[in-house]
């Protein structure tokens, strides 16, 4: 008898999501567009439920969980967002998005792509080039590539394989996936293309007991002042990991995504002001005059998926000693604007980090923007990590040296991450350099000062000795690169 398979059950998913309800005043605000259909976020759902879990519970199992911490990209979905005045598809890690953050937004999953029955060109290219083996990573790659395919201004040539930098594959060795990207041409003039002709959905206000998204700074400050349990969430790329992996409970999440003051990008003759809630991708698009080092810095920061959500404000507020934002901004002499019940103050960044993961932000205060004085001095950024991309730094360094007449140093900024409990500038070494001639001897003296003052720790990313040696050799490297460039 031929064996048939009666017991392979069909998937009829009806998984209830967890308690601690959002209990919102106006449930209509908790609706979002999913693959072209309006879906509501059940009021019974915990605000810490991830978008990924929600999708999978609905039977949309194309997006998968490989890590729940933004590393693997198996959970990638795209959102329709505004980027510097243009509507774009932005791929994001759905495992790091708290579900209510999707409210009012427009999300597409892999299931939407071949809804008509025929494969989307991106999918077809993956099939043609053998882009999957086990296939577990595949929907994630497809969604990253989908967003890249429709990227405005991309032209009709190949898609950039770097766009899939946030997706891990353990089977294929990546080559066939890159070939699939390289073989793509212009995006078809289909409904997905046409969608980009219309504006992206606005980010609307939400008010509820466990999740709020105030529309003004004042409202936000009021909520923070009122509720001692309130916790700011910006892109959620740090908080999402805390929630998923460390099991932290956040009784009241306050999203700053809808506050205009935190989403500005202003450039004047005196300074550049970057809203704390701008994502790194948004800053990249807005900062047209950015120094080359910024682009290099950005490329080394996490992955494209993370950069579509991660904000500079979150990066500084989280105050990781190995965060990449701080050294870069310290070398630019940046300051931060902080708003609180009693008004707004400006704090130089080198006074912002007080101790391990402790900043000058008081309770119920909010980081509004980052201010970079102009002219922006020449700057280089180095990040040493075990893995070339998508890795936390072993150490990061940003150097800015301004030279006057006769190669005399008029200003020196030597900023580091990963060499102390806080990101810092090595003022002693800066002082040695300032006023000296920019030569080998001065650099050696500065290195001696670095060795004498920095006290890095040993951990699995590198020993203290190695870090200290690196802190010095990076300065030497910088010097040699300068001399080479001068020749």
């Amino acid at each position: 008898m031929l064996y048939t398979c009666p017991n392979r059950p069909k998937c009829h998913v009806s998984r209830p999501l967890n308690a601690m309800p959002i209990s919102i005043s106006d449930p209509a605000t908790l609706v979002f567009q999913l693959n072209g259909e309006a879906v509501s976020i059940p009021a019974s759902c915990s605000p810490q439920t991830t978008l990924l879990d929600f999708l999978r519970a609905r039977g949309l199992t194309g997006a998968k969980e490989g890590c729940a911490e933004g590393e693997c990209g198996a959970c990638t979905v795209v959102m329709v967002r505004d980027l510097d005045g243009r509507t774009v598809y932005r791929p994001v890690n759905s495992c790091l998005m708290f579900l209510p953050m999707a409210a009012g937004q427009e999300v597409y999953t892999v299931e939407a792509l071949a809804a008509s029955g025929s494969l989307h060109p991106v999918q077809q290219s993956m099939v043609d080039h053998g882009g999957s083996q086990c296939g577990y990573c595949t929907p994630g790659f497809v969604m990253s590539l989908f967003a890249e395919h429709y990227r405005p201004g991309r032209g009709d040539g190949a898609c950039d394989p770097h766009s899939m930098g946030g997706n891990l594959c353990r089977c294929t060795g990546y080559r066939p996936i890159r070939d699939a990207a390289l073989a793509l041409t212009a995006a078809p003039p289909d409904a997905f293309s046409r969608r980009l002709d219309a504006p992206a959905p606005p980010i609307t206000a939400i008010a509820s007991a466990h999740f709020s998204r105030p529309a003004t700074l004042d409202d936000c400050l009021a909520i923070l002042a009122r509720d001692p349990d309130a916790r700011i969430v910006s892109g959620g790329t740090d908080l999402g990991v805390e929630s998923n992996l460390l099991g932290r409970a956040f009784p009241h999440l306050v999203s700053v995504e809808a506050i205009p003051d935190l989403r500005i990008f202003h450039e004047t003759a005196r300074e550049i002001e970057i809203g704390a809630a701008l994502t790194l991708s948004e800053i990249e698009a807005a900062w047209k005059t950015a120094p080359a080092a910024f682009t290099e810095w950005l490329d080394l920061f996490a992955s494209p998926l993370i950069r579509n959500r991660a904000t500079l404000g979150g990066n500084l507020a989280t105050a990781s000693p190995i965060g990449d934002g701080a050294p870069f901004l310290l070398a630019l002499d940046a300051a931060v604007r902080i708003a609180g019940a009693s008004g707004t103050r400006t704090v130089p960044l080198h006074e912002f980090f007080l101790d391990y993961r402790k900043t000058a932000l008081a309770r119920a205060e909010i980081l509004v923007s980052i201010v970079i004085p102009k002219p922006v001095p020449p700057i280089v950024f180095y990040k040493v990590a075990k893995r070339r991309l998508d890795d936390i730094s072993t150490i990061a360094a940003a150097f800015s040296i301004t030279l006057g007449a006769a190669s005399r140093v008029t200003a020196a900024r030597l900023a580091y991450g990963g060499v102390a409990p806080v990101p810092l500038r090595c003022i002693q070494a800066e002082d040695i350099l300032t006023g000296s001639t920019w030569n080998r001897r001065a650099v050696q003296q500065a290195c001696a000062a670095i060795a004498a003052t920095l006290r890095p720790i040993s951990d699995h990313r590198g020993s203290a000795e190695y870090r200290l040696a690196l802190a010095q050799s990076l300065l030497e490297k910088f010097f040699y690169e300068c001399s080479e460039a001068a020749e």
């Binding site: 998913v13 969980e65 299931e111 053998g130 083996q133 294929t172 060795g173 099991g247 070339r388």
Partner: protein
């Protein structure tokens, strides 16, 4: 070796060879770069993986992990968990169903499988840091996890043995290594070494590694009555899991069904019959509802073992001409007493090179750790790191090109087995690779090439993996409309099994590809060996070949009932299958279609089951795949950063069934090897035995941009001893990679790193 084994081996040696598979010459689909059959399902998100099934009424299980390595749980406080919302039950040793203890994988009788033989949650003892000590079952996954976090345990902790460094002196020689002797001595290698004009004697270290398949382990189990169990599992071996479950739950094998239609990568990590599977089935029994247990990434690191840490000594004595007079390779690995798996790191050395005297030996130290297990090319991957690094060191001593050295040590017969090779074309792989890679332009002198801040170096190493086959079964059903279905319990984790087997079945049956289906991933189907040891492809090919032969013989019998048949009087040996039917080989116009045969016989279908023979060829010959790995690395002088700039793998692995899927497998293996060489390492706290980097953020698998251009060449020389002349290729890709990189790093910097991974600090 037992007398029985000796007898069988002797018999195997005198058994005449079968004729090479005739299909090698007449294949049509085999060898073509066809798209994989499941590509469409995978790009649309339609391929359903284990965790994505949702039987009605399903509940969720979350494990609680121990935080000590050794001792007892003195008190387990489950009250808070029990009163937590949605909780249905908390399983502890007190209420856990009594189970039979799993028995360790036995290579003499490979039907069951288990990486550890500890009783599963049957008592309060703790054997590794991360062992499951309780399981919470709740209505939702989140509720189960939340409640699991509320379980409190107090321990009576013993001083566990967890540090490799501190316990090396307690090493012992295991009874056997995968059924082979732990030690082989030919001549007096130590004596030869001492008197050799050129000597290399070095120790090579590699850390614990983790498979890190992107799909974390998941299981869904449900019972029908007391004695029927259905399990979806992300396993590499549905049948082995079924048999092991039958053993543990004391059930008839027929009453259990294990299904794994899609598995999100395994690499050896999903063949251990780990506790998640057993606990899920037990939980489903307890609560009388379907249960899902999907491990978090951290959960995988805690309860699924990886590759052992290893310390290997390789000593080479050679003449000035590069002949080996002594080859010594000893290896020390870690295994807990409940796993007893000494990773076979000395195996490549047993079969690779000609030497006057040889000594290989393996030792283990028993630590209180999660059971170590197979990880892609277990043994060969770390073994080739040691022996291929040492050979490079010897080439440096001799001032000889390392490929020239490989020529000098190429053996005529297998050095330890003392048999012929069924098919060995290693030197040809080296030569083709060298031409393609432009090896001749390499500088023998280290540190002689640079590009700005980057030192550039080139390295080469041998890849080696045995060609294994196990007996297995297949079912072939020919329908009245001339289509066919081939069935085997096989697992497809992405290797391309389904695609390759379809190509084979179509050729074997003489049918167009679209007329054949391949059904797999279910323990109710005819028996297949595990998707491991690169044996599955060869084994199923042989089983299908045997089954199709049986089908053809039956068809011929049916056909010959017709006195007017064009095949009248023909014997099976006279036939070829082509163009949807059977034809006389000698007279191509005489034949009959399958549709016609079945129509005349009045049969709606014909179905046969067959099994392949015992793998006697493996005893008679030394059978393996070989390769030459070439690479270019760049090392940054300031930071010590290593980048692999270019790769070429030149392989001798029999007939290639499908260059597209094969290329992908090999490249994937090479990339995993790059991870092994440069970034991957599981860090174990030497006091608590806790794995410190239990996440993909801490355990660094290669990313897109770590990966250079990788070219792959195939000798494509069929092995006369196998179906289609093919070999499995799932594992050979990773072998030799770490050595090629270390050798290239030496060539770039003059610094020999013998300690993986080659991180920046080791080069500064």
């Amino acid at each position: 070796m037992s007398i029985m084994q000796t007898l069988v081996q002797t018999a195997a040696r005198f058994k005449p060879d079968a004729d090479p598979d005739p299909l090698i010459a007449s294949k049509k689909y085999v060898g073509r770069a066809l798209d994989r059959v499941d590509g469409r399902l995978k790009v649309t998100g339609g391929a359903r993986f284990t965790a994505e099934y949702a039987p009605d009424d399903m509940v969720y299980a979350a494990p609680v992990f121990s935080t000590i390595a050794k001792g007892k749980v003195r008190r387990l406080d489950t009250a808070a968990a029990e009163s937590s919302p949605g909780v249905i039950a908390v399983i502890t040793p007190k209420n856990m169903p009594r189970l039979v203890t799993p028995s360790l994988t036995d290579f003499a009788k490979l039907d069951k499988i288990a990486a550890s033989n500890l009783p599963v949650l049957q008592d309060d003892s703790v054997h590794w840091n991360g062992q499951v000590i309780a399981v919470v079952i709740a209505e939702t996954h989140e509720q189960a996890q939340e409640a699991a976090a509320r379980v409190r345990a107090d321990y009576d902790a013993d001083e566990g043995m967890v540090s490799f460094e501190r316990n090396k002196d307690k090493a012992i020689m295991p009874k056997d290594v995968l059924g082979e002797p732990p030690e082989i001595k030919i001549g007096d290698a130590e004596k030869n070494l001492k008197s050799a004009p050129v000597q290399v004697d070095a120790t090579y270290r590699s850390p614990y590694y983790n498979h890190s398949a992107i799909e974390p382990h998941a299981t869904i189990a449900y019972w029908e009555g007391d004695d029927r169990l259905y399990v979806f599992d992300s396993t590499q071996w549905v049948e082995g899991y079924r048999n092991s479950l039958a053993h543990v739950f004391a059930l008839n094998r027929e009453n259990i069904r294990v299904m794994a239609p899609f598995v999100g990568g395994g690499f050896g990590g999903k063949a251990g019959f780990w506790w998640n599977t057993i606990l899920c089935a037990a939980a489903a029994k307890m609560v009388g509802r379907p249960v899902k247990l999907a491990l978090s990434r951290e959960g995988v690191f805690r309860i699924v073992g990886g590759r052992t840490v290893a310390e290997q000594r390789v000593a080479l004595g050679a003449t000035r001409e590069g002949k080996l007079t002594a080859l010594i390779h000893t290896g020390l690995t870690v295994t807990p007493d409940h796993a007893r798996y000494a990773e076979q790191c000395t195996f490549p050395t047993r079969h690779l090179y000609a030497t006057e005297a040889l000594h290989v030996a393996q030792y283990v130290v028993n630590l209180d750790m999660v059971a170590n297990t197979w990880m892609r090319a277990p043994g060969e991957s770390i073994g080739t790191f040691a022996v291929e690094s040492a050979l490079d060191e010897l080439a440096v001593e001799l001032r000889m090109d390392p490929i020239e050295l490989r020529r000098k040590v190429e053996p005529a017969r297998d050095p330890t087995k003392d048999t012929e090779f069924s098919s060995r074309n290693l030197i040809e792989a080296y030569e083709r690779g060298a031409a393609e890679f432009n090896w001749s332009s390499r500088n023998l002198q280290p540190r002689s090439r640079r590009d700005g801040a980057w030192l550039v170096g080139h390295g080469v190493a041998t890849a080696y993996y045995p060609a294994l086959r196990f007996p297995g079964g297949a079912r072939v059903r020919l329908e009245a409309d001339g289509t066919a279905i081939v069935q085997a319990a096989a697992n497809e984790m992405g290797m391309g099994v389904a695609t390759g087997q379809l190509q084979h079945a179509a050729d074997r049956l003489g049918l167009p590809l679209h007329c054949v289906e391949f059904d797999y991933g279910d323990s109710h189907l005819p028996t297949s060996p595990m998707a491991g040891g690169s044996c599955q492809t060869l084994s199923i090919l042989a089983a299908t070949r045997a089954t199709v032969e049986k089908l053809h013989r039956e068809l011929l019998k049916l056909e010959q009932k017709d006195s007017a048949s064009p095949l009248k009087g023909a014997k099976y040996e006279d036939l070829v299958a082509r163009d949807n039917g059977l034809f006389l080989a000698s007279e191509p116009s005489r034949g009959v279609s399958y549709v016609e045969i079945l129509r005349k016989a009045g049969k709606p279908y014909l179905e046969v089951e067959g099994v392949s023979s015992a793998p006697m060829e493996m005893m008679k010959y030394s059978m393996a795949s070989y390769g030459a790995q070439f690479c270019e690395v760049r090392v940054n002088e300031t930071t010590g950063e290593v980048r692999v700039a270019r790769w070429l793998g030149s392989f001798d692995c029999g007939t290639v069934l499908n260059p597209k899927t094969a290329m992908s497998q090999l490249r994937g293996g090479i990339v995993m090897g790059i991870g092994m060489a440069l970034t991957e390492e599981m860090l174990v706290d030497g006091r608590s035995g806790r794995i410190m980097n239990r996440s993909l953020a801490g355990y660094h698998v290669p990313v897109n941009l770590d990966v250079p251009r990788i070219d792959v060449l195939f000798n494509d020389i069929p092995d006369p001893q196998t179906a289609l002349g093919a070999h499995g290729i799932g594992e050979i890709g990773i072998t030799g990679v770490a050595a090629a990189i270390a050798n290239a790093v030496y060539n770039a910097t003059g610094k020999r790193v013998r300690d993986l991974p080659i991180t920046l600090d080791k080069l500064l």
